[in-house]
């Protein structure tokens, strides 16, 4: 919101300098249009407005006249410039160098294009040419296929053998475990039998003194513990 003081200031400006500023801006807009008009770049609908303004305003007419005069003079000025150009010898050398370089690039381009055409032709030729080694290739291919078939037969046989082998291994394992269990059973029975006697007969005195000197050993149930023996 504008304060009363600001309003007062604006009013003062409008009366004195402000009006002048607005007028200048207005004039400048028309001068821009005049500039466009003399360049034949002002849209037709804006031209009418400009003409009306020109009819009313002498200052604007003056601007138009000045700009048109300047336009003509500027053209004449540029047309009147006469500068003797340097001898194009240096230019010729430089340009020759540049064109030589360009020519070199062009040659390189043509050479690479020709080379690619030749390679393409060779490739096509070899692609469509009947190959003398083709029958041999087909024979080798059929041999290879038959060998592959043989190999696959051998492979299936091998798989079968592997299966049999694993079956035999399983059977073997079963037999082994059965054998172990039988040994355990036998040993257990033996131990039971020994224990049932409850004592071990003493050895009769031996005639041999040496043998008589060997102390007799009492065998207990622990000496017949199966796992110790089987484990060994």
């Amino acid at each position: 919101m504008r304060t009363p003081r600001l309003k007062k200031l604006n009013r003062k400006l409008a009366i004195s300098g402000g009006g002048r500023i607005e007028k200048d801006k207005h004039m400048q807009d028309y001068e821009l249009k005049i500039s466009q008009f003399i360049d034949n770049e002002l849209p037709v609908d804006e031209q009418k407005e400009l003409f009306l303004h020109l009819a009313d305003n002498e200052e604007a007419r003056e601007s138009l006249s000045d700009y048109m005069q300047m336009k003509v003079e500027a053209k004449q000025h540029y047309e009147s410039i006469r500068v003797a150009l340097n001898e194009p010898k240096i230019l010729a050398t430089n340009v020759a160098h540049a064109t030589e370089q360009n020519r070199r690039y062009m040659y390189m381009f043509y050479f690479s294009a020709a080379a690619s055409v030749v390679f393409a032709f060779l490739w096509l030729y070899t692609y469509f040419l009947p190959n003398p080694l083709l029958p041999e290739y087909y024979k080798l291919q059929s041999d290879y296929i038959s060998l592959q078939e043989e190999h696959s037969g051998a492979l299936s046989e091998k798989i079968e053998l592997v299966n049999i082998n694993s079956y035999l291994y399983d059977e073997n394992e079963k037999l082994r475990s059965r054998q172990i269990s039988l040994i355990k059973e036998v040993k257990k029975q033996l131990v039971e039998k020994v224990v049932s006697t409850n004592e071990i007969r003493e050895r009769p005195p031996r005639k041999n003194n040496y043998l008589a000197s060997i102390p007799s050993v009492k065998i207990t149930e622990d000496d017949f513990l199966g796992p110790k023996i089987i484990g060994n």
């Binding site: 300047m70 053209k75 500068v83 150009l85 340097n86 360009n102």
Partner: protein, 164 residues
């Protein structure tokens, strides 16, 4: 620079003929930017050499003359940027106010043009001498149409102020 001005339907000229026909135009255009005769002469040589070098990259979507002018423009502005023969900062080229107008003496248009910036001179040349449309100038100078319109107007206004 992207050039999409006019479809080039004209027959392409060989370099020698191109030089004969457009060397003066390139010279004047370079002169309008560089404001130095000797530099402009060198620019002509360089422009044609560059044209010969870049002939293979010329996309033929504009006339040969336009292509030459674009090369000339690039060369001249590079020259201004990389040398100290002219004390013009391109960034401030549009708002150069370093001249002093002496309202008591009559100044010729030639002198008045010298007081403009390179860019303003260039625009006046392209419009008044070459007669290019705003659109074509915008393409050559790589600016928007609106920019060209306003800058050309400012150049004229400044010129009028100087001449008054």
């Amino acid at each position: 620079m992207d050039i999409k001005i006019l479809k080039n339907t004209a027959k392409e000229l060989p370099l020698s003929e191109l030089y004969e026909r457009y060397s003066i135009d390139v010279l004047k255009y370079s002169l309008s930017i560089l404001n130095n005769e000797e530099e402009a002469k060198d620019a002509v040589q360089e422009v044609f050499v560059k044209y010969a070098e870049s002939e293979s990259s010329f996309r033929r979507d504009c006339s040969q003359k336009t292509w030459l002018l674009v090369i000339a423009r690039n060369y001249c502005y590079n020259r201004i940027q990389h040398s100290s023969f002219r004390k013009i900062d391109l960034a401030k080229a549009g708002e150069n106010e370093n001249y002093e107008i002496d309202y008591d003496t009559n100044i010729s248009l030639r002198e008045a043009l010298k007081m403009l910036t390179s860019e303003q001179n260039e625009l006046i040349y392209l419009k008044e001498y070459e007669g290019y449309s705003y659109k074509e100038i915008a393409e050559i100078t790589d600016q928007s149409l609106e920019n060209v319109k306003v800058k050309l107007f400012r150049a004229r206004k400044k010129l009028r102020e100087i001449l008054k």
